[in-house]
Symmetry: C2
Subunit: 228 residues, 2 copies
DNA sequence: CGCTGACAGATCGTATACAATCTGAGTAGA
DNA sequence: TCTACTCAGATTGTATACGATCTGTCAGCG
């Protein structure tokens, strides 16, 4: 009576592991080992990896296997720019139109974030992204939902790779303010808050010369790879 | 010296067949038959189908195999709404910033469309979508490029399913006007033209009670499936 | 006459076998 | 000492075999 096939199970498990940053960017994902761990054959694992590759959470190189993607700084910025555009669409659609039930759902989601943050739980990052996924869901636009999910997932990866380990960058207040503005129904205010929020996430995440941030080989070699 | 693996070949071939509407929406895609046609095993075909499923060009049902998706009218509208948002981003980024080479490329693309249209070639629909893909490419944003490609491909499918077979709905003039506005550099004018263009495509495609448009079973039964 | 259940054919889901490819260690030669 | 080559071990790429599931047909029963 499992709702999902075995491929689905492996797929989602790996995605969670990536989004929650249990699997580091760049980590190798050998088919054999994963298959053994989940008790399935390589066929299943390969299909799950292929799906993750379609979501651009893992990269597959021919004859070299799969590994967790390690987006460059440039890709990270591009990601957030597009995400800002789509989140802008979301707030424009939602502003002043939230039902009581939706408001309740958003508030409990933020409460969950707060708790995870206070307890310094590993899933804080996932939860604080989940807030945006919930917002996207409420637009009832399958496309918006779909694309924003992917962008949010990849964002988590990016922040892990280029971000600081600070527990101080807390989204809870900004999420609260956003909910209030959505209820109030001032579109421009909503857009401003969302844009500011995302910009804050990005700069908090990227700008701080992270204690943890190991620049990727690609970035490192950028200087040295200049022609002639 | 093929650039892509065999999976890639089958994947792209099937996609072209779908986008060019050689494969009707709803068409079954049996793994055996396709494998035999391309001279590969089911393993390869299945992976190609899985990729197409990730792009939402085919739907895979457990134990029922794959078939070309047949988006509902509602999904079609959603698709175009999101596409309009992203195309808006594209023109905002490109307006007044086109290089001479880019202008040349766009013009020759439109010329190609025109030719295909005059000759009533099957690939006209693909080419007229390609114009938008080229624009997206020029933004140099991998994300924008990626998402817009998917949206354009799916658009072709939607227009086939719900559209009229008219050869009169020609995009060439609107594409020309758009290029001119992008060169001129008037952002608001660009946005207006793009929005009008897409709205025109949608209404030309969907509104006209198409001679060919068979409403899907789902739509048909909507009235009859009301509770109690 | 209509319904139920069994069966055959087709199609899909998964595991596994074998070939191809890559990686790194070790060795021979300059 | 350094370079180039070879080869074993590990890992992936692909085909295929076998079991599971679905669909449609047809006989048996009410």
């Amino acid at each position: 009576m499992v709702q999902g096939s075995r491929v689905e199970i492996v797929h989602q498990a790996l995605r969670r592991a990536i989004v929650e940053q249990a699997l580091e960017p760049g980590a190798k994902l050998p088919e054999d080992a994963i298959g053994e761990r989940f008790g399935v054959s390589r066929t299943i694992v390969r299909r799950a990896l292929e799906r993750l590759a379609a979501e651009e959470l893992v990269a597959m190189q021919p004859n070299r296997g799969a590994s967790v993607v390690a987006p460059t700084l440039e890709e990270a910025r591009d990601l957030f720019e597009i995400r800002m555009e789509l989140e802008d669409v979301v707030v424009r659609r939602l502003c002043g139109r939230l039902t009581a039930a939706q408001i309740e759902r958003l508030k409990s989601a933020v409460a969950g974030e707060q708790e995870a943050h206070l307890q310094r739980r590993r899933d804080y990052i996932r939860l604080s992204g989940e807030f945006h996924v919930i917002l996207a869901d409420m637009t009832e636009s399958p496309m918006l939902r779909r694309y924003l999910r992917q962008l949010v997932w990849r964002s988590a990866l990016v922040l892990r790779l280029h971000g600081r380990p600070d527990w101080e960058d807390c989204n809870v207040h900004e999420h609260h303010a956003l909910i209030a503005a959505l209820i109030a129904g001032d579109v421009e205010q909503c857009r401003r808050l969302m844009a500011a929020h995302l910009r804050a996430v990005l700069t908090r995440g990227l700008k701080g010369g992270g204690a943890r941030s190991e620049p990727s080989l690609w970035d490192i070699l950028a200087v040295y790879a200049a022609p002639t």
